[in-house]
């Protein structure tokens, strides 16, 4: 049985903000199925009582003195932006017109 359907891959692509093509969906569905079936092997390990590891370095709350250090100028911070306006990143509209009005 397939681990993942074409429809589920389409849903994942939407969640991932990837405007994939129909052709890509065909390819990815098969490939993701192979990969997911292989990685599902982790389920064979008896690990119910084992604590998870998210990170190998046990550091928490790394703080520093609250002093100003050199940082980027607004011009430098915006230098790679596809679009900028009045020292800000300019983005396409985020609200529908009926909501915005």
């Amino acid at each position: 049985m397939a681990a993942i359907s074409r429809e589920e891959v389409a849903h994942l692509a939407r969640l991932s903000r990837l405007a994939v093509t129909e052709e890509e969906l065909d390819t990815f569905a098969g490939q993701l199925d192979v990969i997911l079936q292989a990685v599902a092997q982790v389920g064979e390990v008896a690990a119910a009582d084992i604590p998870p590891t998210s990170h190998s370095v046990p550091l928490t709350n790394v703080l520093r003195e609250d002093v100003v250090t050199p940082c980027l100028t607004p011009e430098e911070a915006l230098s790679g932006a596809p679009d900028a306006e009045e020292q800000r990143f300019r983005v396409p509209r985020i609200l529908d017109e009926d909501v915005a009005s």
Binding site: L18, L32, S56, L59, A77, V91, P92
Partner: protein
């Protein structure tokens, strides 16, 4: 002077520059000429910074002329994987989504390279976002292995490794999330070291999997790698996962190992990594090297690490999960590509079109796998379970290091494969990292050192050491190098 400066080690170059027998400019020009002569066939570089390199070299020469005390790698050229931010110099991560981006700041490692007087030649090719084992997933075309131009140079840092093997640079920087320094080192006959996680700064390293990404040194000799490690390593307050402790003396360890005495050192062969799955030629070269290590005085035992078998599937859940989150920043707002912003489309549509156009197939696959593994219905069975397996793998290492000083294995199951052989089956590509991944999940250091040839292609031996015992792996690697020598690739 008739010496071919591109054939020298970093130590030799630095020595000649320090004595005034050559200049940093001469050394840099020799490497730029070499790049011009061979890189159309190798394609190790995505960007060659000719003006910046010559300016940095002139600066070193001026400082030397003024009597300034220079560091041990001053005047030595270095190639930098395109995963590190370089101020004013294009940084693409091998992806179309960052094409043309010139970062406004330097990564900590790049800053330390500049302060040490090394000369950055340019940025090297890589699998897009460091996801891959062959450099074929670069959006800018594959890199070719100098040992056989029809074969892959490993990945993701194939550009850095190929630059070394093609004598385009004596030193290079890589980054290792699942083997991206060590596996390219193995298949190009060069040395690649993954430091302890947190031992080298990630500040300015474009993130793939933040709990695994580890930048590190690549070179043609173990001592050169150690010297580069010393320059780039150590605590960085700008990386909150950087270990606030002094770096072990890796250079002294490499020099000690070069003496060829491993008396009193106990090495464990990972028994899970010498069975089926590895090519016979790889195993033969590995076994010969084990004999060589024993002759140097090392005590050799077999060690079983049963959970290492599950490292590959655990990794291919953890790394894609972290990547699906990290790569959300590529949304066409603050840097890089923006597609479809015609004044009518919504932000979400523009984001989706931008990411669709900017990312290649492997990156898309991993983002979707990660999104799947982190979704509420599958989290426990996939990502959560993989994190528990990570704990068990760490316990295997801890138990092993109670018995032995370091673990050894082949670096990768197979030698450099032909370009195109594994791109249609992504999981076959993943198998290249079978032996290197456990170290990343544990967080300890690992190094690949050339150990012989199989049908004329290089084989690497991997040394794995406990966390913050990077010096130990350099000692063993340098001892092996003293016994088997370095490998010389065919003339290009």
């Amino acid at each position: 002077m008739s010496t071919d400066l591109t054939k020298l080690s970093a130590v030799e170059i630095a020595g000649l520059v320090a004595k005034g027998e050559t200049s940093a400019v001469e050394v840099t020009q020799a490497h730029l000429d070499r790049i011009a002569a061979v890189d159309d066939r190798v394609h190790a570089f995505l960007h060659v910074d000719t003006d910046g390199a010559l300016a940095a070299a002139r600066d070193v020469d001026a400082r030397r002329a003024a009597g300034e005390e220079l560091g041990p790698l001053a005047g030595v050229p270095v190639a930098v994987k395109d995963v590190l931010a370089t101020r004013g110099v294009p940084t693409t991560v091998g992806s179309k989504i960052l094409e043309g981006w010139r970062p406004p700041y330097d990564a900590t490692i790049v800053q330390r390279l500049r302060e040490a007087g090394t000369v950055m030649l340019g940025k090297t090719n890589m699998d897009e976002f460091a996801m891959g084992s062959s450099t074929e997933y670069s959006a800018y075309g594959a890199t070719h292995n100098p040992w056989d131009l029809e074969r892959i140079p490993g990945g993701s840092g194939g550009g850095s490794a190929a630059a070394l093997a093609a004598y385009e640079a004596p030193l290079a920087i890589g980054s290792d999330t699942g083997g991206s320094i060590r596996q390219p080192g193995a298949v190009t006959g060069t040395v690649g070291a993954k430091p302890t996680y947190g031992g080298t700064s990630r500040y300015g390293l474009v993130a793939f999997s933040s709990s695994l990404d580890t930048p590190g040194p690549c070179a043609r000799t173990v001592l050169d790698a150690a010297l580069l490690h010393q320059v780039i390593g150590g605590h960085d307050p700008r990386d909150s996962t950087s270990i606030p402790a002094p770096l072990p003396d890796v250079v002294a360890a490499a020099r000690r190992g070069a003496g060829g005495d491993l008396t009193g050192v106990k090495l464990g062969i990972v028994s899970e990594f010498t069975g089926e799955g590895a090519e016979p030629g790889v195993l033969a070269a590995f076994r010969e090297s084990v004999d060589a290590l024993a002759k140097l005085g090392a005590e050799i035992v077999e060690v079983s690490c049963p959970n290492f078998t599950y490292a590959l599937p655990a990794y291919y859940l953890i790394a894609p999960s972290e990547c699906s989150s990290n790569l959300a920043r590529f949304d066409g707002v603050r840097f890089g590509l923006r597609v479809g912003d015609d004044g009518n489309r919504s932000l979400e549509e523009v984001m989706s079109l931008t990411r669709e156009a900017g990312f290649g197939p492997e990156v898309k696959r991993r983002i979707m796998i990660g999104t799947y593994a982190l979704s509420s219905g599958y989290y426990d069975a996939y990502y959560g379970q993989a994190q528990k397996v990570r704990t068990l793998i760490t316990r295997d290492f801890t138990a092993a290091f109670e018995r032995v000083d370091a673990l050894i294995s082949p670096t990768t199951p197979f030698v450099a494969f032909p370009i195109g052989a594994r791109t249609s089956d992504p999981y076959q590509m993943y198998l290249a990292d079978l032996y290197t991944i456990p170290t990343n999940l544990y967080g300890g250091p690992g190094i690949s050192v050339p150990c012989g040839l199989s049908d004329g292609l290089p084989v690497g031996l991997q040394v794995m050491a406990p966390t913050m015992a990077d010096d130990r792996m350099y000692r063993v690697a340098a001892a092996l190098e003293s016994a088997v020598g370095t490998l010389t690739p065919p003339t290009l």
